[in-house]
């Protein structure tokens, strides 16, 4: 893996595409579970972008930030899925279109 022959723009393009697909998933899907997965997808796209920039500058800091993004993602998934389970126990649905009341 000594010589880097792929231009880093290609990695950024893949990251941009993955991010956009994640945005589409959040905006058009109805299942809260799939919306969570789309958020994970967007976080991963940003991670890919960060690692590519870390390679571009030959500095490790981008990879460290990926570390923190992963831990935030883990925390977010734990809390988010707990909320989802609570909503499902209450309303028997996981569709965001049917959970539109702020008051209980």
């Amino acid at each position: 893996m000594a010589g880097q022959t792929i231009p880093l723009e290609y990695y950024q393009l893949v990251a941009a595409l993955l991010f956009t697909i994640g945005v589409v998933g959040v905006l058009v899907r109805r299942s809260a579970l799939v919306i969570f997965m789309s958020i994970e997808l967007m976080l991963n796209a940003v991670n890919l972008s960060l690692v590519a920039f870390s390679r571009l500058h030959a500095q490790m800091d981008g990879q460290i930030i990926v570390f923190f993004v992963m831990s935030v993602a883990a925390a977010e998934v734990a809390v988010g899925l707990a909320i989802l389970v609570a909503i499902f126990r209450n309303r028997e649905t996981a569709s965001v279109d049917e959970v539109h009341l702020l008051k209980g």
């Binding site: 893996m1 880097q4 792929i6 880093l8 723009e9 290609y10 393009l13 941009a16 595409l17 993955l18 991010f19 956009t20 697909i21 945005v23 589409v24 998933g25 905006l27 058009v28 899907r29 109805r30 299942s31 579970l33 799939v34 997965m37 789309s38 994970e40 997808l41 991963n44 890919l48 690692v51 590519a52 870390s54 390679r55 571009l56 500058h57 030959a58 490790m60 800091d61 990879q63 460290i64 990926v66 570390f67 923190f68 992963m70 831990s71 883990a74 925390a75 977010e76 998934v77 734990a78 809390v79 899925l81 707990a82 909320i83 989802l84 389970v85 609570a86 499902f88 209450n90 996981a94």
Partner: protein, 170 residues
């Protein structure tokens, strides 16, 4: 040559799996497609000399987080939604705004970040770049304080998840 082949494989795989994840009906299929995306992205991490991050990606994301997702899918026993996408004008707006965002991202990537000069030749990597030893050195020196804050964040997340799961809503 082999690097170009691997990049094409992982990149196309990541995008195809991502599309499958968004447009599949069954949540279990969506989760498995997301695993495919995560594995492809970790392959690209290896191509970018981030071996340790790639290993963590597989262990933490494709291992732990995806098991959590699948566990909740099984627990909730959700059926696939009958209209897959949100109905009406919201769908059109969703695609439209996503397209606008993509065009912006594309513009930023192709303009190479504005006027800041990006080196044509990639710099040579210092020895040990992306290795666990080097990650640990940077993490526990420059990034020590954020690292400690992360532990508090995880503690709060654990407490919050337990509280939410145990609480009786009415």
């Amino acid at each position: 040559m082999i690097e170009a082949f691997l990049f094409a494989m992982f990149g196309a795989g990541a995008i195809a799996f991502a599309l499958g994840m968004v447009f599949r009906r069954n949540p279990v299929h969506c989760a498995l497609h997301l695993v495919g995306v995560l594995l492809s992205v970790s392959g690209m991490f290896v191509l970018l000399n981030a071996q340790f991050i790639a290993a963590i990606q597989i262990l933490v994301y494709a291992g732990a987080i995806m098991v959590l997702f699948l566990f909740v899918v099984m627990l909730l026993n959700v059926r696939g939604e009958t209209p897959l996408l949100t109905p009406g004008a919201a769908k059109g707006f969703g695609f439209f705004f996503a397209l606008i965002g993509f065009v912006e991202l594309l513009w930023v990537v192709l303009s190479r970040g504005g006027d800041e000069a990006v080196p044509e030749r990639l710099p040579a990597l210092p020895s040990g770049f992306g290795s666990p030893a080097e990650i640990g050195r940077v993490l526990y020196s420059t990034w020590l304080f954020p690292f400690e804050v992360t532990s508090i964040l995880l503690l709060i997340a654990v407490v919050g998840a337990v509280v939410l799961a145990k609480r009786k809503f009415f």
